[in-house]
Symmetry: C2
Subunit: 248 residues, 2 copies
DNA sequence: CGAAATGTTGACTATATTCAAGGCAAGTGG
DNA sequence: CCACTTGCCTTGAATATAGTCAACATTTCG
């Protein structure tokens, strides 16, 4: 993957993935008219700097990223991970500047929108405005889950929960036949920072889960040999089909 | 406070508080037309049960509440606290049911809205749709902050942060001359559950902060004798005037 | 090939939890 | 008015979970 590709939104391959709801033609045209040329950024790039004043908006088209906050002495907390289809930059609207940073976990492809696109979408298409509210509320529910983990789960339970939920999200983006092993670009440091653990303890706990046959990571791919048992450790439920989600 | 009072939105006393932005007459009328009769619920009441299927929407008119999640063995994590002006129930839209509970921390007064009000507001008044997105993003930023605390701050720093931020929010709702001592209805158990600490440790840490002259709680009122020092412990910055916020 | 990032491991320490008791104040019912 | 309950706060001792520090191994990549 390199260079710039500008697939029109009406032919966007992401939109064919089952978890995304179909947009009406009018709405799709509006999105396309606001969208700028796709951008590619390398692994590790800071997409939005913590504290940046004016930042752009993006839909993550390909690759993974994460939102994070840091304390002045460098301690870092990852808030949640961003996968293709996630919308980046909503938060800036509420605080005159970014209260968190966003960093690319892999090479990422972004569909940029001007800063006032959030307002334009609301104004010109209530349906899309509603979709944006939906995305904001959905991202909050991810953070809620992480907070529950970090606040009340043991290290083992936290890792189990993280692996479980990321596996589900990653799998949902793949064709059914490829869902045994899903892309998993996190380092142990990322997991530690997401779960509020030290690197050493994350490593030990991860090894324990692997010894129990609950997960396996190899070549950047994650597989869960015994999802039931892992879900039991994680205390994570809700097997139902996740609701369709909007894609801006 | 008892009985039912139905101040029309156009004469709502909350709207006179400086932190809330003024709504246009048309928007105000729409809000008023969707709103039901105000409801009073006692301290401790469950406003939204965890896992409830269909839940109402409310604007918190008076009193405090909190959002929480629990694990099956009873461990509880408080996600964030709700103060007058906060909107309750947005999350339900994204998951077909509540993924978290909401409980009243004091007696609360609620302005109820029908379940489809979120959509109606978007459809009939883009400006209000935008406001709802704003509220969702803003609540997420509160959760982000708590996650940073719970994941990466020490017990002492966590308590300092919680006291600092709640003090600011509570003070902003009061007339300037009453901002020395603000209402603070949390028990130590609430603080423990919000910060991912045990009750015993929360107590010990709280005593230490008090001994250092960093806070004082008496008769349900919180005062911060040395806000600068407390902010330093908390590693919390941003003194600027907080942006005006919408009130639905 | 060498440098840098990531993963691995052990020994030691610290922060925070658990468990167990008891105190105090407010409310309730006889 | 008093006994009793209930909820919240307080405290100490023992324990456990997770962090820190310090190496070293392995992989990746220019």
């Amino acid at each position: 993957m390199r260079g710039i590709v500008n697939t029109p939104c009406s032919h966007c391959p992401l939109r064919d993935v089952a978890i995304f709801k179909q947009q009406q033609k009018r709405e799709l045209q509006l999105i396309e008219s606001l969208r700028g040329d796709q951008i590619v950024r390398p692994m590790g790039a800071v997409l939005i700097a913590e504290g940046a004043a004016q930042t752009a908006l993006y839909t993550l088209f390909a690759g993974w990223a994460f939102r994070y906050k840091t304390l002045t002495d460098g301690r870092r907390q990852i808030l949640n991970f961003l996968l293709p289809g996630d919308f980046i930059g909503l938060q800036q609207k509420v605080a005159d500047g970014a209260t968190h940073g966003v960093e690319a976990l892999t090479e990422v492809w972004l569909c940029p929108f001007p800063r006032d696109a959030v307002w334009e979408l609301h104004r010109q298409a209530p349906e899309l405005g509603y979709d944006i509210t939906w995305l904001a509320a959905h991202e909050e529910s991810l953070v809620d889950n992480n907070l529950l983990s970090v606040g009340r789960r043991s290290a083992k339970e936290r890792l189990a929960t993280l692996l479980m939920l990321l596996f589900k999200r990653a799998a949902a983006l793949l064709p059914p036949e490829q869902r045994q092993r899903v892309p998993f670009p996190l380092t142990q440091q990322h997991m530690a920072d997401a779960l509020g653990l030290s690197l050493a303890h994350t490593h030990r706990t991860l090894r324990e889960l692997e010894r129990l046959g609950l997960h396996h990571i190899e070549d950047g791919l994650l597989s869960l040999p015994n999802p039931r048992a892992l879900a039991r450790v994680a205390d994570v439920w809700g097997d139902g089909v996740p609701p369709e989600r909007p894609l801006i």
